[in-house]
Assembly symmetry: C2
Homo-oligomer: 321 residues x 2
C-alpha cells in the first residue's frame, strides 16, 4: 500500500499529543505538510495558511483539521473546494449548520468527509456496544469531570462563544453514549453554569430520556480537582456496565472486562491510530462518515438549558502579571 500524503492544520496540543504520533505510526498516511502560525513539525514543510498550502501542494490529497472549532469551517470549505479529502477533529465545527454545509459540499464534489469522535475508538467501547445490544437500558449516569487548568492550559478558545466550555470534553461522553446505546436518547433539560467572564459554561447538568423511559443524567465539571473522572455507568435489566477512564476500562457488575490494568496517565493508546485507519478506509471506498448526534445533544443542552452565572474563571497559565 502506498501511503497517502496528508497535511495537518492546527499544530496545537491535540495535534502534538495525538495526531502527529498517530500519523508517524500509520502505514496508510505520510505527513507531508502542516499549517500553523506558531511553528510546525521538525522536518515537515509548514505553511501559514490553508490557502497557501492548497496553492503550493496540489500533490497532497488529504487534510486533517485540528484547529479550534470556531475557525475550522473556512479552512475545511477551502480544502473541499480545492478537491481535497477532509477529516475533522471533534467537535466538527462551531455550529451544526456549518457542518451540514460542508457535508453538502463534499457530497456535491464526491469527496470524503469524516467527522471524528476519538472517544468512540477507546479500547472498551466496541465491547460495551456489543454487550448492550440486546439489553434494556433503565438508566445512565455520566460523570465527566476534569480540571481545565490541567487538561486545557492556555486554551482560551474554549471560553469564547463556539468553544463549548465544559462541553468540549463532555461531547466525548455524548459520542460514546450515542455509539453504544441500542436506542436513541433526547435532551429534556439542562442547567448551565457560566463564569461571569466567559461565553461558555464551566459546568453543567444535562438530563436526557430514552424512548422507553430510561433516564440519562450527565454531571459535567471543568473545575474538578484531582484525578479526572470520565465515566458512564449504565444500568440494564441484566446488570450494570461501567465504562471508565474515557472508555479505556470496563466493568460488568463489578467484574473487570479485558485488560483493566490502570494506566499511569489518561492518554489512551490507539484512539487516533484507529481514527486514521477509519479515514484511510473512507478514502479507499470514497465514503463519507458524518455523524452529528453528539453535537445535536450539546446544541439541545444549550437551547433548552437554564443559565446560571458563577464566579469569574481565570486560567492561571494565561494570567497577566
Amino acid at each position: 500500500m502506498t501511503a497517502t500524503r496528508i497535511a495537518v492544520v492546527g499544530i496545537g496540543k491535540i495535534a502534538r499529543d495525538e495526531h502527529i504520533p498517530a500519523l508517524a505510526a500509520s502505514p496508510a498516511f505520510e505527513l507531508a505538510a502542516t499549517v500553523s502560525r506558531s511553528g510546525g513539525v521538525s522536518g515537515v514543510e509548514n505553511f501559514d495558511t490553508v490557502e497557501a498550502l492548497l496553492a503550493a501542494r496540489p500533490d497532497i490529497p488529504a487534510i486533517s483539521f485540528c484547529t479550534p472549532p470556531q475557525v475550522r469551517y473556512a479552512g475545511a470549505r477551502a480544502a473541499l473546494e480545492a478537491g481535497r479529502q477532509v477529516m475533522l477533529e471533534k467537535p466538527p465545527g462551531a455550529s451544526l449548520s456549518e457542518v451540514h454545509a460542508l457535508q453538502a459540499l463534499a457530497a456535491e464534489r464526491g469527496l470524503s468527509l469524516l467527522t471524528t469522535w476519538h472517544s468512540r475508538h477507546a479500547a472498551c467501547v466496541p465491547a460495551a456496544k456489543a454487550w448492550l445490544a440486546d439489553k434494556r437500558v433503565t438508566s445512565v449516569r455520566i460523570d465527566w469531570k476534569e480540571d481545565v487548568r490541567v487538561w486545557h492550559p492556555g486554551q482560551l478558545w474554549i471560553w469564547q462563544a463556539g468553544g463549548l466550555g465544559i462541553f468540549d470534553p463532555a461531547i466525548n461522553a455524548f459520542s460514546i453514549l450515542t455509539e453504544i446505546l441500542p436506542v436513541p436518547v433526547h435532551v429534556t433539560g439542562a442547567d448551565l453554569l457560566f463564569p461571569g467572564n466567559c461565553e461558555t459554561p464551566i459546568a453543567a447538568r444535562v438530563n436526557m430520556n430514552g424512548p422507553d423511559g430510561a433516564l440519562v443524567t450527565a454531571e459535567l465539571d471543568f473545575l474538578w480537582e484531582g484525578e479526572a473522572l470520565w465515566r458512564l455507568e449504565i444500568e440494564t435489566d441484566a446488570g450494570t456496565l461501567i465504562l471508565d477512564r474515557g472508555g479505556a476500562a470496563m466493568r460488568i457488575d463489578g467484574q473487570p472486562q479485558g485488560d483493566d490494568t490502570p494506566k499511569t496517565d489518561a492518554k489512551i493508546p490507539g484512539e487516533y491510530d484507529r481514527l486514521y485507519a477509519r479515514f484511510a478506509e473512507l478514502l479507499a471506498t470514497k465514503g463519507t462518515d458524518v455523524d452529528l448526534r453528539p453535537m445535536v445533544l450539546v446544541a439541545d443542552a444549550f437551547t433548552l438549558g437554564r443559565r446560571f452565572e458563577g464566579p469569574e474563571f481565570i486560567d492561571p497559565t494565561t494570567k497577566e502579571s
Copy 2:
C-alpha cells in the same frame, strides 16, 4: 374524497385562531376530537389527555399537535406508538434530538410525520423562491420584531426553558429563509439578550454566512412597539427582493408583486389551509416531511450565542395583583 378524522391536541391561541378554522374549511379533514385541559371546541368531543383520546377513539387516524413545544414530544410519541399519523406545529419540539427520535419511530412504524412551518405557506413565499432560484444572493437582512404583549399575551411557556423566547416567532423567518434561498446558510455568531427573570431571550442578533460569502443578519426583538415588522430583505446580483408582512407581500426593486394590498391585520389567510392540504398529501402517499433546518439555525444561535442580561420582563396580562 372521504374526509379523514383528525384530532387537535392543545386548544390554545394558535389552535383557535388557525387550526380549527382551517379544519372547518378543509375538504380533506373532519375535526373529530380535541385534547385540552382548559376547554375544547363546541360540539366536538374533548379529552383531558392524549392517552384518553388514543384509548377511546381508535377510529381517529390523524392527530395534529399545537401544544407548547416543551410537552409535545410525549404526546406525539404516544400517538405514533398507537399507530396514528402526526402533524406538529412549529417548532416541532423542544430539542432536535427528540424530533430525531420521533422521526425514527415514524419511519419504523411506516407512519406519516409532518413538521409544519406555516410561514413557508404565506402567499408570496413560492414566488420569492422561484425568483431567487437563479440569482446570486449577496446579503440578507431579516427584521423580525413584534410586541410579545400583543402577540403572545399570557403565554408563559415562551419564557420557560425550551420555549425559545423571541426565537418562537423568529423561527418563522428562518423557515422562510431556508425555503427560499438557493444555497444553505450557517450561523457564525449571535448575541442573545435574556431578561433577568426569564430562561429564554427577549431579543437577539444572529449572523449567518452563505457559502459564497453572502452575509445574513437577523435583528429579532420581542419588545417592539407599534406595527409588527416581519421582513426579509434580500440583495442579489439582479436586484433587491423584499418579503414583507411575514411573506404575505413581496416587492422587487420597489415594485409590488402580485396582490400587495395591505391587510388590516397580520393574519395571513391560507397558510394553515395549505398546511393541512400538505398533511393530506402525505397521508395519501404515506410520506413523511421532517425538515429541521430552521430549528438547527436556532440551536446554533443558542450554542454560539453570547449571553447578555437585561431588565426583567413582566407580562402585563399575567401580572399578579
